[in-house]
């Protein structure tokens, strides 16, 4: 394992410090690893997200005007504890209630749910949404359901804009749920990631293999197969996504080409070219594109593609200003 670290045990702590050093408009509660805005606004709905670390810039990179109020950082790939989340709710308590944006994993759900129960005991109004955008996972009654991946970033952006505009908790929750209903992602990996504490890759791929349908925690994908050229890969991914929710000619989408950590910007832009062509071919219009490392899987080589189907309201909220480390729009 080659990593720029001191010791595996201190990775998350030191990283959190590095984040607030680079972004002095954010502040770190060291004990509970909560990264929050320095200036909180009591008169808007508070937005909290978080989860295991290793997805940087998620989620601390989305804390700031127009997006989140706090991100709770768990250990690498491990949900933050109930107590951490509970404290984040307390520390960002507002007069308009709190919305928790949760990626749909059993650990995250259990901890966020338990924390919200604790907060409700303190008379804090807490609502929750569960992001489950990964079309690689079959959504069935018998499983925990789809997992949340890069589409979460759009939920942060849109719910954040709604909250910043002064919408009520129920309205903010409603646009977050509308976003979740319309966002779909799929990813692939060329290499496994390496969790610092473990020190070795979670899985191994041959020189000509990829994992298709991979998650963001080194969970193996749906199928291991031969690497294909970018255009073909783009076709496969776009096809999976548009098969999942009905698209009409002329529908508009926001597109996110997300690097999983070790794939260079060069390849992400190249993939954007392939994916944009695959989308255009289907008569779908791209309203706005994001290319970069938005929701990573530590040092995994690979990428994911996210499409958010837009209506007028979502477009407007997407265009609202945001000033966070990882998304700046004005």
């Amino acid at each position: 394992m080659k990593k720029i670290i001191n010791r595996p045990e201190t990775v998350v702590d030191e990283m959190c410090k590095g984040i607030v050093l680079a972004h002095p408009e954010l502040v770190l509660s060291e004990k509970y690893k909560i990264i929050k805005r320095k200036r909180l606004n009591k008169d808007k709905v508070s937005l909290i997200s978080g989860g295991g670390s290793g997805h940087e810039p998620a989620h601390a990179g989305y804390v700031g005007t127009g997006m989140l109020d706090a991100a709770v950082c768990g250990d690498v790939f491990a949900s933050p504890s109930t107590i951490q989340i509970y404290n984040a709710i307390l520390e960002t308590r507002s007069n308009r209630g709190t919305l928790l944006i949760i990626k749909n994993y059993s650990g995250d759900c259990m901890n966020f749910d338990a924390a919200s129960e604790m907060a409700e005991d303190e008379d804090i109004v807490v609502e929750k949404v569960y992001v489950n955008d990964d079309v690689a996972v079959k959504d069935s009654l018998y499983t925990i359901g789809r997992r949340g991946v890069a589409g979460t970033v759009f939920v942060h952006k849109i719910a954040g804009a709604a909250a910043e505009k002064g919408m009520d908790l129920s309205q903010v929750k409603a646009v977050a749920e509308k976003t979740i209903a319309n966002v779909r992602s799929i990813g692939f990996a060329f290499t496994s990631c390496t969790v610092p504490a473990k020190g070795t890759p979670i899985f191994t791929l041959e020189e000509d293999e990829m994992e298709f349908g991979v998650g963001i925690h080194g969970e193996p994908g749906i199928v291991r197969e031969k690497i294909v050229p970018a255009d073909e890969l783009a076709e496969k991914m776009v096809e999976r996504i548009v098969k999942d929710i009905p698209y009409q000619q002329g529908d508009e989408v926001a597109l996110l080409i997300n690097g999983l950590g070790a794939s260079p910007v060069q390849e992400l832009y190249l993939l954007n070219n392939s994916v944009s062509n695959a989308i255009a071919k289907r008569g779908i219009k791209i309203y706005k594109t994001f290319v970069g490392n938005y929701m990573t899987s530590i040092d995994m080589a690979g990428a994911s593609v996210t499409l958010l189907r837009l209506d007028q309201e979502l477009k407007e909220l997407l265009d609202e200003p945001s000033d966070t480390p990882a998304i700046k729009i004005w």
């Binding site: 504890s81 059993s106 018998y142 499983t143 925990i144 969790v195 925690h217």
Partner: protein
């Protein structure tokens, strides 16, 4: 042996922490096959802190002791393991409130409470390829032993064997809870990490336990 005293329970939890910490890396490896490879770390983290706060725990009332353990685990275990193991301990602690000794029947009730706590928090059931697939058979075995009036140590040994067997059987299940569920059919032939851990922990306890 007829009963377990509060000090025996303390001893058992101590052994549990010992085996969990010793197996940190191995438990991570188990989770790598079908999960995300952090199970050993998440679990050990809480139990290490439990040990460092060991001296300050009230050890007379078994219920209080288990509840305190549960709080520390809830606060410090990462991932799914925090709420799962935390609610197991807290639920068992509630069952044992005020008790300073535990019969075999009570022992099975205590484990049943742990199972109930886990199910309340995580919504899994037998056959979902979680640690419940080891814990439930182990609990059932204790119940039968209690009915037949067996010696408590013998019963624990049987129960541990059931846990190991239950874990072994998870190989055949397609996971439906936890991260392994994303693998679908591909999770077959890989045992569940949590269930395997329960088997290992129970076996270690029955082998090492001495009053």
């Amino acid at each position: 042996m007829e009963k377990l005293y509060a000090s025996d329970i303390v001893k058992i939890i101590d052994l549990m922490a010992e085996v969990i910490i010793e197996n940190e890396v191995y438990f991570c490896e188990l989770d790598s096959a079908a999960g995300d490879g952090d199970f050993g770390m998440s679990l050990a983290k809480g139990f290490k802190i439990l040990r460092s706060e060991w001296a300050g725990l009230s050890k007379e009332d078994t219920g209080l002791f288990l509840k305190d353990c549960g709080m520390i685990i809830t606060e410090n275990c990462g991932g799914a393991s925090g709420p799962i193991w935390g609610s197991a301990f807290r639920s068992a602690g509630k069952y044992a409130e005020g008790k300073t000794e535990i019969t075999l029947e009570e022992m099975s009730g205590l484990l049943q409470s742990a199972v109930d706590g886990i199910q309340k928090r995580g919504g899994a059931k037998l056959g979902d390829k979680t640690l419940l697939d080891a814990l439930i058979p182990a609990t059932e075995s204790l119940k039968i032993s209690a009915k037949e009036g067996e010696d408590i140590l013998d019963a624990m040994k049987k129960s541990a064997r059931e846990a190991v067997e239950g874990a072994e059987k998870t190989k055949l299940i397609v996971a439906s809870k936890g991260r392994a569920s994303y693998l679908g059919e591909r999770s077959i032939n890989m045992p569940d990490a949590g269930a395997t851990a329960i088997g290992i922990i129970f076996t270690y306890i029955v082998n090492q336990f001495k009053r």
